[in-house]
Amino acid sequence: FNEAWKKTKVTWYPIPIGIGITFIAFQHMFRVYAREKRKKQDTSTEIRPIIIGPWQVYLIDTLPLRALSRLWGRINNEYNLPVWLREPCFKFYSWIFKCNLEEIENTDLKSYPNLGSFFYRSLKPGVRPIENAALVSPADGRVLSFGLVNNGKVEQVKGITYSLDAFLGHKRKEGKDDVIEQEKHVVTSTHIADEKEFANVNGIAYSLDALLGVDPAGATKQDSSVGEDASVRFEENGFQKELAVVTKFATPFSSAHKVREGNTLYFCVIYLAPGDYHRFHSPTNWVVEMRRHFAGELFSVSPYMLKMLPDLLVLNERVALLGRWRYGFFSMIPVGATNVGSIRIDFDKALRTNRREDLPVGTYTEVSYKKASKLLGGQPLRTGDEMGGFCLG
């Protein structure tokens, strides 16, 4: 080796580096060109939010949650169990999820054709006395968090704060640290969110406007009650977009909704476990003036998941029921999850959730209940009235 090392003559050749660099440049150029072409061809406005969080979140985000939820729903709602299998199956489900079978109205388990109908069971009259209070619980469940909405910020689980304004889909300026200043950005009612818009950074400040939806700009007012879809077509950045069912515009919540003197905003988050009774009722005497259906992801909303992905409630499918009660503004927002992606509102037969054709995350459609009651300008509800429920899939 020593000999060879010493004796071998070293000859220097100019290797063609330039050709190598040119080849790589061309390769990169073709790749960019192909990507831009694919983007142009892809007319769908499917924009995926950027999910940022622990590794478990990335893992879950790669799953087709909505498709899995629809499959779960198809299995449980469309395939009836053989009669002999029903009782053991529902008893097993009740044992796992601690359902209380004494309280259900129809105790003949063989009469439930499938798990979907068992899941949507009703309770015996009188097993849930309605207490005489300003506010009662709308459903069986566990209190995750509650408190004051301090200038638009909501305390989420474990101290991570939302500011409710972005909760409605406002565009955000690049955030500094955990509280992102909300730009006054009016969201069209079928707003295709920018990729950044729903960037889900742990601890990001969310706001009420992301939860309830704000007043779209520039769209014409359409008068239509529940079920009559009106739509306005318009062109934006080469995309045909449709402003769906824009009926009545609530004013931008955070700016125009002035809380009355001596009042303030409160919030409360209630988690329904898989074994809980899944119909929900009116928590007080109020009038529902409109609903906003946000198509979205269907992450699990368990406390574990909420801790890992604190901005979850903004990403998930939800129906924001907005109205008023004797002290001012009142809203109730049922939020779907992977196993219960369907939200049913008894007085809104037109509502369909967890549909394949729904617009992607960051869009919502709005329907006014003005015609439900001319006098009150909305759907009147008394404390304890059944409003609807969550269904499997």
């Binding site: 849930r128 209070a133 506010l135 459903a139 329904l272 503004f329 809203s331």
Partner: protein, 32 residues
């Protein structure tokens, strides 16, 4: 699934529950 309530109420409003508490529908969660 989850239900979020967001509402306006006077400063005297008080929640009568604790985080993590199990509740039933119809049970009092707040009073003024």
């Amino acid at each position: 699934s989850t239900i979020v309530l967001v509402f306006e109420a006077p400063f005297e409003f008080r929640f009568c529950m604790k985080p993590g508490q199990k509740i039933k529908y119809g049970q009092k969660i707040g009073e003024i």
